[in-house]
Subunit: 300 residues, 2 copies
């Protein structure tokens, strides 16, 4: 099976996935499909979810602890909600071998880097933070799929301490999952994703929450249709995961929220004045920008 | 062809569609597919679009004026942006036969009723306002399809003057298109749709517009992904149509915008305080409400 032209592809022996949900599970499936690893061990806090991960062949074994999962691993993916990283890193650190590489899948990066500096001190050369720009409003290992990262971006935000060969091998692992590699600083990353991901999630959650609290909420939802369904899809996302993202990135998110509320003030003034021309110009500029985006004009 | 079990189905001879875009064109295609009419004539202001409507068999003929389209019609659908209704009704009124029924597809209803009272005076018994809860971010006759209304709600907001048999026949026409009929007052309609449709459109337009105006907008759009795509889908909607809706329903929409901005103030306070528990509770309540909606718990 080695004579398939894959000799030059990245190969790992033992891979450990900490947090086997949508992202961790998809990473495991993608590596298996690419034949990029020999054995995958998973660790997770929910025994039912881990049983499912084993039954579905997402992982080959389930570890009883983070340290047990890490021991002997060539590559470790941390894919828990980001608030758990300090505890995860603290448990990982003493179990890491000299060659073990660590990456993650957190949607925020400044807090992840800070947690690594605190919890992986002395091992920072082996750590390469990553954020796969792929996901779904679904969560749990049952939603995992081998092609989740196929054609999607993965943003690496290496530390100055990250060893170049560690960055290269972690990049190759994500590429084996089908992803395209981008690089940014943690600060730039968190600002960009506050604007194009974290804020939209916050707005979708807020709109649904506000309507759900109305006396006539049943009537309102009864007439909600396709536009509402797509606008609010991300409001079905994992509450704990998004709590952690919003808290971790709250300063950048507050800036974005402020920008947006100023925009809403301007829109409100146009509405109050019955300024049809102003509204049409705004709507037209938005449609034009979105359609240029759909046409791939902003692809990096 | 009449012995197909459709003898009891609604039948119209000549149907006129004023404004042959996504909605008007789909209405025409659906009636044809249901064999519910003999002949469809269309009128529209864009000659290229009307040529397309004729070429695609959406309409059987193109009229040179609204009056010409209306003459001899059994049923007329007005499906232009709502700001054009006063002019459309003024042109329709003298050309209406005693038995001609008029319905519409406007997304707002108080302004439509007011325009009808001004422009269709003496003919109000023949008019039954309607709002099909179906659409897409696409516009123009090229996007029209026979099943657009299939299984979708159509809200009728009859006037006190609307004749009961007119309401029944207009309802039957929409049912022939596959729609399920609901009834509301124009006031209730406009409040409900300000909340679940007009506000989300406004927010999506506003978010894309705000990001498009940034210095680093190319970078931001370059990292926008699936969540952003769905959240902003409705920001690709027709600017003129949405200008008219927002202006026509601006008092109800301003109330909804105010509710939402208060919600955002509360969310901002939680973020600023790092109130993870509060955010998680809000996100969880939103996800729960949305998932109950997806499960059909609010279906009327």
């Amino acid at each position: 099976m080695s004579a398939t032209g894959r000799e030059d592809a990245v190969r790992f022996g033992r891979v450990a996935v900490i947090g086997v949900g949508l992202i961790g599970g998809s990473f495991a499936l993608a590596l298996k499909q690419a034949k990029a690893c020999a054995h995958i061990v998973g660790f997770g806090r929910d025994p039912r979810n881990m049983r499912l991960a084993l039954e579905h062949g997402v992982v080959d074994a389930v570890a009883a602890s983070i340290a047990e999962a890490a021991r002997g691993a060539d590559l470790i993916l941390v894919a828990t909600p980001v608030a758990q990283y300090p505890a995860v890193f603290a448990a990982l650190s003493p179990a890491l071998g000299k060659e073990t590489l660590v990456t993650d899948a957190g949607s925020t990066k400044r807090d992840v880097v800070a947690a690594a500096r605190a919890g992986l001190a002395g091992r920072l050369a082996q750590f390469v933070p990553a954020h796969p720009i792929a996901g779904a409003e679904l969560s749990g290992v049952a939603a995992a799929k081998a092609d989740l990262f196929s054609g999607k971006k993965v943003v690496l935000t290496p530390l100055t301490e990250s060893a170049p060969q560690a960055v290269a091998r972690v990049a190759a692992a994500w590429q084996a999952c089908g992803a395209r590699i981008h690089r940014m600083s943690p600060e730039e990353h968190d600002q960009v994703f506050a604007a194009v991901s974290h804020l939209p999630h916050l707005l979708a959650f807020a709109l649904v929450h506000e309507l759900a609290g109305r006396e006539n909420s049943s009537q309102l939802f009864g007439y909600a249709a396709g536009g509402f369904r797509d606008f609010t899809r991300i409001a079905s996302s994992h509450p704990e995961m998004w709590r952690d993202i919003c808290v971790a990135n709250r300063d950048a998110l507050l800036v974005e929220l402020q920008h947006f509320m100023q925009e809403l003030d301007a829109v409100r003034a146009m509405l109050a004045a019955g300024d049809g021309a102003g509204l049409e110009a705004l709507f037209g500029a938005a449609r034009d920008a979105r359609n240029r985006w759909l046409n791939g004009e902003f692809e990096g």
